[in-house]
Amino acid sequence: MIARWLDSDFVYSLLRTPTALISLIICLVLAACALFAPWIAPTDPFDMSSIDLMNGFTPPGVANEFTGEQFFLGSDDQGRDLYSAILYGLRVSLFVGFASVILAMTLGVTLGLLAGYLGGWVDAVIMRIADIQMTFPSILVAMLIYGVARGILPPNARADMAITVLILSIGLSEWVSFARTVRGTTIVEKQKEYITASRLIGLSHLNIMARHILPNVINPILVIGTITLALAIIAEATLSFLGVGAPPTEPSLGTLIRVGQDFLFSGQWWIIFFPAVTLLVLALSFNLLGDWLRDFYNPRLS
């Protein structure tokens, strides 16, 4: 099984595309960092008792002038270890990214399948909503949903629900690209004879959609999913940077960048620099990986 997988075109192409291979390795390493943050991180950035204000603004790799403590990537204004904060921030960013892509994918694939398969007014309604949503930048849609959700929630639930609301708003703003692609592929697939073969033995439409059409639309979904993941991570960082995303109690990379921004002009460059570089590398890797996947599944495009 593993031997056959290693021998596949997929692995062959991956091993011979350095950009894709490096991107994949970076993605995996960063994902592992996020997953195992509590074990890797030298300190717990959320444990207030372990944080010493005297350690504030320690530059990277230099001993603090009062306490003599050293920090690999420096410390922020509160004396928090930046390296640990980034690991935990990565956790929030990736979690929000994955969760919102899964939400967008589920929603987009379901609606796209229904629109393409059923056609008629179902198709018209779903795709017009998609068209309308496409005319707004997705970050604007996400902010709108975020604002509405905040308005509905009681004030004491807002902090607890912040991450959920963030996932909902990014997820709901990114479903369109999935739906459009799935609809197009579904329309092509449903005219093929194997669908007639299933219809004539009396299989239900639901059965045909789930077992026949879905497996045939999955490849483009993987490609869009990977690229959307990069977009979702950026969207989360943007929302957090604007102060409407992850709360300071659960800082994501975007929150760290917003905090770091205050000290950019006073010389403490490392507080914004390292989270920003991490975000850049993360988003870029997923994007390049997505590009390669697209080329792999559809060589005619390149």
């Binding site: 194997y194 004539l200 033995i201 045939n216």
Partner: protein
Amino acid sequence: MSFVEVDEVSRVFHKRSLFSKSQGVQALKNVSLSIQQGETYALVGESGSGKSTLARIVVGVDNASSGQVSIAGHQISTSMPKENRRDIQMVFQSPYASLNPRWRVHDLVAEPLRAFGITQGRKATVQRVTELLEQVGLQADDARKFPHQFSGGQRQRISIARALSSNPKFIVCDEPTSALDVSVQAQVLNLLKDLQSELGLTYLFITHDLAVVKTMAHQIGVLKQGVLIEEQSADDLFASPQHQYTKDLLAAAPVLSVA
């Protein structure tokens, strides 16, 4: 009453548009035909003559605008009860589009078995699929492969195995050989013929190729622009075509002399 009765079937396709009045295209106009059990009825006609539309109506995946179809005494429609569908199967034109590329041959052939609950349990299903594959000249091992690992002719055999799996009495063959090489065409036609005599199958054979018709058909109908313009037994039609269009068709067909 014959085994298959097509009675005054018409089909109009409406082109729906928001801005203009709907225009109908009449694909079939009052087509009536009947097929005796165990015989082959060949429906001949050029592209766009309504052959495939009639096929879809006969197998119950499309409804007639007017008229009706009955097979073995059951009324055919898209909403007919599932158990009546067991008797009717179809073999398609494209060996590529007629098999889901994501499914293994076993699952493709076993789909009707599952749908109608014909075999109980995995073991019985595997055994039946093996039998079917061997019946159409494939091997038991082929069940584990995917459709793309087969040639066009072999894929048509898989298609035929799938069609046979529900033990049908009636099979609609929609140009099953038109996408194949001539030598492979003969093999597939021979297989279909052997199966007919072995299992007593009734065929509705749709084609534009008169050479194919000659080897298979008992009865021939000529369809032109949705109208059945001529219907005769195979021997009579080749000997004395009545309609000018049929004469033109026969004249246009390449003559095959078999040494």
